[in-house]
C-alpha cells in the first residue's frame, strides 16, 4: 500500500455544500468531521460525515458562526484542515488566522488576502494598477471637485468614504440635487473614521450582466482560470439562476475578461479557489471589475459542468499544498450549463422564507442533470438558516438545448409540503427575455412585480 498521510477535514458548514465537501473528501480518502447545530443533528450531512459533533444551539451565532466552538471541535477531533464552505466563517480573516495559529489548514486564502479582498476600494485600486477595466470613478476632496467628478461619470453614482472597508456608508445618488447631502455625510464619516475626508465616486451601472471568472491557484505559483459564469438573474443580490459560459460575450471581450481575472489572481499570488466578479455593460460592450470572492461559490457546479474539473477536490488539494496538475491548456470549455437554485421561498409573497416539512421530494434523474441537495422526504426545514433546498444543474451542447433541458427537468420536479421557488424558476426559464439572453441584474426585481401582477404575456409557453 502506498504511504499516505491521512488528512482529516472538519466541515464547518451545513446543507448541500456540507454534503458536497464530504463527497469530495470521501473520494480523496480523507476522513471527515462535521460540526452541526442542535437543529441539524439528523441531516444527511450528519449521516454521511465520518463523525459528527454538535457545536451548539440552532442559531448560527451559537454554532456555525461560533469560531471557538468550531476550532475546539476541529482540534479535539484531530482534524488537519477546516473547510468553511460558503457564507458563515468562509471569508473571516480572524478565523483564518486562528486556524493558522492552531496548526490547522484553512481551506481558503491567507488571512492577509481575505483582509485585502474585504475592502472594495483596495481591490479596485489593485485592478486599476494592473490595467484591468473598472467602472468610471475617482476621488474628490471638495464639494466642487465632487460635482465636477459626478458630472463627468454620469448619474447615478455611488458615493462613499475613500478609506476603510466594505459597503459601509455607501450612498446611491441619482441626480445632482442629492449630491451635496451624500457628499457631506460620506465626507464626515470618512473624516471621523480615518482622519481624511476624501470621498470616492463610482458609476452605478444599472443595466448590466453579472459575469465572474473562476480562478484556481496552488502554493507553487501555478494559476489557471476556468472560464466565466453569468449570474444576472438576481433578486436583492441573491443569485437565482446561473450559467456558464456567458453566451452574450463577444470573443474579444471574453479574452479580456479572462486575462483581467488572471492578472488580479497573479498580483495577489492567489491560492485556492476564487471568483473575480465583473459587470458587463452589453450596450457599450464594457467590462467593469467589481470584487474578488475568496471562496467556493454556490454556483461552482456550472463551471464543473463545462470544464470537467472537480473544483472542490482541486481546492482541497491546493490548500493542502499539493501542486496542481492542471495547466491552462488542459482546460477546455465544452457546451453550456445552467443552475437553478430551488429555495423554500414563496414567489407569491416576495420570496418570503417558508420553512416546514418536505413531504414530497421527487427530483427527476434526467440525463445531463445534476442535483446538489441535502433534502429528503420528511426533512424538517429549520427556520434558522438560508432557504436553499437544492441546486439543479443541467448541461447541454449549447445554451438553447440547456434551457430546454432545464425547462423539462423543472417541469418534472415534484416537491410537496413546503412552498418553493419552483414555479418562479419555471416561469423565468420560459420567459422570452431569459431565452433571448437579454436579462440584466435588475431584471428579476422588475419581473417579480409583473409576476405578482400575473403578467404572463411574454412567456414562451
Amino acid at each position: 500500500m502506498t504511504e499516505r498521510q491521512t488528512e482529516r477535514v472538519f466541515v464547518a458548514n451545513r446543507g448541500e455544500i456540507a454534503l458536497r465537501i464530504i463527497e469530495a473528501c470521501d473520494r480523496l480518502g480523507y476522513d471527515t468531521v462535521l460540526g452541526v447545530s442542535a437543529a441539524d443533528r439528523s441531516t444527511l450531512g450528519a449521516r454521511r460525515a465520518g463523525r459528527t459533533v454538535v457545536l451548539g444551539g440552532p442559531r448560527p451565532g451559537e454554532s456555525y458562526l461560533n469560531m471557538n466552538a468550531v476550532l475546539q471541535a476541529a482540534i479535539s477531533t484531530g482534524c488537519t484542515a477546516i473547510h468553511p464552505g460558503y457564507g458563515f466563517l468562509s471569508e473571516n480573516p480572524e478565523f483564518a488566522r486562528q486556524c493558522a495559529e492552531n496548526g490547522i489548514v484553512f481551506v481558503g486564502p491567507s488571512p492577509e488576502a481575505l483582509e485585502a479582498l474585504g475592502d472594495k476600494l483596495t481591490a479596485r485600486r489593485l485592478a486599476e494598477s494592473l490595467g484591468v477595466p473598472v467602472s468610471a470613478g475617482g476621488t474628490a476632496g471638495t464639494a466642487a471637485e465632487v460635482r465636477e467628478l459626478a458630472g463627468r461619470i454620469g448619474y447615478p453614482v455611488l458615493v462613499k468614504a475613500a478609506h476603510g472597508g466594505g459597503g459601509r456608508g455607501m450612498k446611491l445618488v441619482t441626480g445632482p440635487e442629492e449630491l451635496q447631502d451624500a457628499w457631506q455625510l460620506a465626507s464626515a464619516e470618512a473624516e471621523s473614521a480615518f482622519g481624511n475626508g476624501t470621498v470616492f465616486l463610482e458609476r452605478f451601472v444599472t443595466d448590466a450582466k453579472h459575469v465572474e471568472v473562476q480562478v484556481l491557484g496552488d502554493r507553487h505559483g501555478n494559476r489557471v482560470h476556468l472560464g466565466e459564469r453569468e449570474c444576472s438573474v438576481q433578486y436583492r443580490y441573491q443569485k437565482v439562476v446561473e450559467e456558464a459560459p456567458c453566451a452574450a460575450l463577444p470573443e474579444a471581450t471574453r479574452t479580456l475578461l479572462h486575462t483581467s481575472a488572471l492578472k488580479i489572481a497573479d498580483a495577489l499570488d492567489y491560492v485556492g479557489l476564487g471568483t473575480v466578479e465583473f459587470l458587463y455593460d452589453v450596450t457599450r460592450d464594457e467590462l467593469a471589475f467589481l470584487e474578488v470572492n475568496p471562496r467556493l461559490q454556490v454556483e461552482h457546479p456550472v463551471t464543473e459542468a463545462v470544464t470537467g474539473v472537480d473544483l472542490v477536490r482541486e481546492q482541497l488539494l491546493a490548500a493542502l499544498g499539493h501542486p496542481m496538475t492542471l495547466r491552462q491548456a488542459d482546460i477546455r470549455l465544452t457546451g453550456h450549463a445552467i443552475e437553478c437554485r430551488i429555495t423554500a421561498q414563496d414567489p407569491d409573497n416576495s420570496l418570503a422564507p417558508s420553512p416546514g416539512t418536505v413531504a414530497r421530494w421527487r427530483p427527476p434523474a434526467a440525463g445531463g442533470a445534476r442535483l446538489d441537495s441535502h433534502i429528503y422526504e420528511g426533512y424538517r426545514f429549520p427556520p434558522f438558516y438560508d432557504a436553499l433546498m437544492g441546486k439543479q444543474i443541467v448541461w447541454a451542447p449549447d445554451r438553447t438545448a440547456a434551457v430546454e433541458r432545464m425547462d423539462s427537468v423543472l417541469e418534472q420536479f415534484e416537491i410537496g409540503g413546503v412552498t418553493t421557488s419552483l414555479p418562479l424558476l419555471r416561469r423565468i426559464l420560459a420567459h422570452q427575455d431569459y431565452r433571448s439572453n437579454v436579462v440584466t441584474t435588475h431584471w428579476l426585481n422588475d419581473y417579480l412585480n409583473d409576476y405578482l401582477g400575473n403578467d404572463v404575456e411574454q412567456e414562451v409557453h
Binding site: R8, D31, T32, V33, A38, A39, G50, R51, T52, V53, V54, L55, G56, G57, P58, S63, M67, N68, A69, L71, Q72, A73, S76, T77, Q98, P383
Partner: protein
C-alpha cells in the same frame, strides 16, 4: 375531566408558532409541560428501584461505529452491568448537560481533586466541572440541589453541546 379546551388549544396553537424545546407552565395545581426535539433525560413515568436499573438502550449501544474512529462496536464498550446511564435516568434524577462544546475537566487544575464525585451532596450553585473552549474556562453548576449519582464522561473528553455530564438525584 375538567379541562378548558379552548384555553388549551390556544396555548398549543401559540406554542406551535414558537421556537422552543422545553415549555413548562405551573399555576396552582395546573401543570403543563411540552417538549420539542432533543432527547429526554429525565425519568419515564414508571417508578423503579435503583437496583433494578439496567444498561444502555440496546439500540443505541449497537449503533454504527463512526468510521473515523477505530472499529469497536459501541455495544462492546457499554458495560454489561452499570447503574445509571444518561439514556436511562431513574425517577428523581436529573441530568446536567454541557452548556457548550468543549473539553471536560473534572478538577480546577490538573492533579487537584475533582470538584465532585458520585455520592457528593451539591446545591444548585455548586460547580461540578469546567468546560474549556479555546482556553476559555466555563464552570458548569449543578442547577439543582441533590446528590451526584453518576458521572458520564472522563477528564479531557471532548463533550458536545447538550451532552449529559452528570446525574443528580434531586433533593425531594
Amino acid at each position: 375531566m375538567n379541562i378548558d379546551l379552548e384555553e388549551l388549544a390556544a396555548i398549543i396553537e401559540q406554542l406551535d408558532k414558537t421556537d422552543f424545546t422545553d415549555f413548562r407552565y405551573e399555576h396552582g395545581d395546573l401543570r403543563i409541560q411540552v417538549r420539542r426535539g432533543g432527547y429526554y433525560d429525565d425519568a419515564p413515568a414508571a417508578a423503579r428501584q435503583p437496583a433494578a436499573v439496567p444498561a444502555a438502550a440496546p439500540e443505541a449501544g449497537t449503533a454504527a461505529p463512526a468510521p473515523a474512529v477505530p472499529a469497536v462496536p459501541a455495544a462492546a464498550s457499554a458495560p454489561a452491568s452499570s447503574s445509571i446511564t444518561a439514556a436511562n435516568l431513574p425517577d428523581g434524577h436529573i441530568a446536567v448537560t454541557a452548556p457548550m462544546l468543549g473539553t471536560f475537566y473534572s478538577a480546577p487544575k490538573p492533579g487537584e481533586p475533582a470538584f465532585v464525585k458520585v455520592g457528593d451532596v451539591v446545591d444548585a450553585d455548586s460547580v461540578l466541572c469546567i468546560v474549556e473552549v479555546m482556553k476559555l474556562m466555563n464552570s458548569v453548576s449543578a442547577g439543582a440541589a441533590g446528590e451526584v449519582s453518576a458521572v458520564f464522561v472522563n477528564d479531557g473528553d471532548l463533550v458536545e453541546f447538550e451532552q449529559p455530564l452528570f446525574a443528580i438525584k434531586a433533593t425531594a
